[in-house]
Amino acid sequence: MSRAMKDRLIWAVTFLVMLIICLPGLWVVLSAFRTNGEILTKPAVWIPQNLTLDNFRAIFGLGENVLAIPVGSYFLNSLVISVTSTVLAVVIGMSGGYAFARHRFPGKSGAFLWLMLSRTVPGIALSLPLFILWSWIGLIDTKLGVIVVYTAINVPFTVWLTEGFFRQVPRDLSEAAQIDGCTPWQAFWKVEFPLARSGIASAGIFAFLTSWNEYALASQLTRSTDSKTLPVGLMDFTAQFTIDWAGMCAMAVIIIIPALILTFLVQKHLIAGLTFGGVKG
């Protein structure tokens, strides 16, 4: 088999696998354009009979007798919270990760472990004390409050992840930069940061998606349209006795699309062989 053929075959197989993985998700997306009666029924309706935008209309309050879900402000809240906390987590994480990767100091592995352990606390043990603490300092139902919390839950792993990637950047490169007159900060920013950017991008993606999709804590710390995020808004579709699954799916699509776009943009920084050709040996 020629190499080109083999490449194509691998491509096709991968594509197939991806498709299978995506199926459950695609079902959700498709459901957004169908009616509840058609999705959840027996016998199943395999071929959608009538695709409709009603679910979306309802979300925006265009249907009859339904109050619009304030998607606009949820969206904005989600965006502000996720982006800010991601940036913060990545910056703080990078700074910590760099310290671990490049500096020697006594108690280093202890600190590293400690940082990890901070993640072991289940949300439940945190959420109520956090709530009380936050209400004392007036952070309840504010975007800032959520941002701080998300930053904290994302920091440990942005630290570890970026640490791993900074280790992969040959030390000689930052040395060369320092010889070239860089301050350690310049050496970091101009040489090590660009070379570790695969890792930083993946940490960023991970942090962003965690914040974007987080529900448990947000559902407690947010109260109103001032701070409620999209996943919390998703629960607007579950009333006491009913769940509007099709509506939820429509909302899901609204949640997924921006995340998809943002991830697509960020992941262009996942690049192979960034350090190739830099050092010999």
Binding site: I92, H103, G164, A201, T263, G273
Partner: protein, 302 residues
């Protein structure tokens, strides 16, 4: 004190670099933790604020220790963690390797790969709750339409099927996280040693086994550690899909704790449980941390 001051002076740079991380964690994790630690010794009930001062000593712990439901949830959680983490790791590794091989349209493929990551855990919960529903669920419908099953399969009821179903949902949601982290690790890999290994007579598998994998191990362990802590997010999924039921068949520590804390409003007892679950997480973390350090040492100066 002077020793501390000297330490601070000698290592000012790393300490300064680390301090934001430490601060934010102190604020968001440690302070609340102290509070909840205190409450685990009280009969604190949310709806009776004054019960915060109702000190009960080790009663909560004693009760939790003697609670069969708690221990079966504990065991199930360990099993769930083990199964989900390992499968996610293996599948994620496979996906990452596959995507890494692709040259044409890789960025699009990567985005497709991350598709499940876009789903909020509660959404995933609902999604699989409906997919696995025994009467109107898509899976049952499909199996019956294809003639593979005549009776509806109670995915969310049968002891093992239900466990499999929640594991499946969790794995579906999180495999791509592994994949993307491992993929990034693959991208950071030097390619020289791979070429050398191929010349040294390695088959593709041997290259993977002897070169790629040792390089990836630190990344895999980091991902494992992150995830071992993060599967607590599975709470949302399980809560929506089965709520830990039926009859506690899918009860995990988190669902049990959450119900005790909020539905029962018995915060003190919930926090006692939480500290047991912290112990569990500490064990997992420490385990992976040791592995990580060993893998690092193995990679030497790299």
């Amino acid at each position: 004190m002077t020793r501390f001051r000297r330490y601070a002076r000698d290592h000012a740079v790393p300490l300064a670099l680390l301090s934001p991380a430490v601060l934010v964690i102190l604020l968001v994790v440690l302070l609340p933790l102290l509070f909840s630690f205190y409450t685990s010794f009280s009969n604190y009930r949310l709806i009776r604020p004054d019960s915060l001062w109702d000190w009960v000593g080790f009663r909560n712990y004693a009760r939790v220790l003697g609670d069969g439901d708690f221990w079966s949830a504990f065991g199930r959680t360990v099993l769930f963690l083990t199964v989900a983490l390992n499968l996610e790791m293996l599948l994620g590794l496979g996906l990452a390797l596959m995507v890494n091989r692709i040259t044409w349209g890789q960025r699009t493929m990567r985005t497709i790969m991350m598709f499940p990551m876009m789903f909020s855990p509660i959404l995933v919960g609902f999604q699989f709750k409906y997919l696995f529903n025994d009467t109107i669920g898509l899976v049952n419908n499909a199996l019956q339409s294809l003639g593979l099953a005549s009776e509806p399969i109670p995915f969310l009821v049968d002891r093992w099927l239900a466990f499999a179903a929640i594991s499946f949902a969790e794995i579906w949601m999180s495999t791509s996280i592994f994949a993307i982290l491992i993929l990034a690790g693959l991208f950071a890999m030097p390619k020289d040693p791979i070429e050398a290994a191929r010349v040294d007579g390695c088959s593709n598998w041997q290259v993977f086994r002897h070169i790629t994998l040792p390089f990836l191990m630190p990344f895999i362990y980091i991902a494992m550690t992150i995830r071992s802590l993060d599967v607590a997010r599975a709470y949302d999924i399980v809560d929506v899909m089965t709520g830990g039921g039926p009859a506690g068949r899918t009860e995990l520590l988190w669902t049990l704790i959450a119900r005790t804390a909020y539905d029962d409003a018995r915060m003190g007892r919930a926090n006692a449980m939480a500290y047991f679950s912290i112990l569990l997480s500490i064990f997992f973390t420490w385990f992976f941390f040791r592995k990580l350090m060993a893998a690092r040492r193995h990679l030497g100066a790299f």
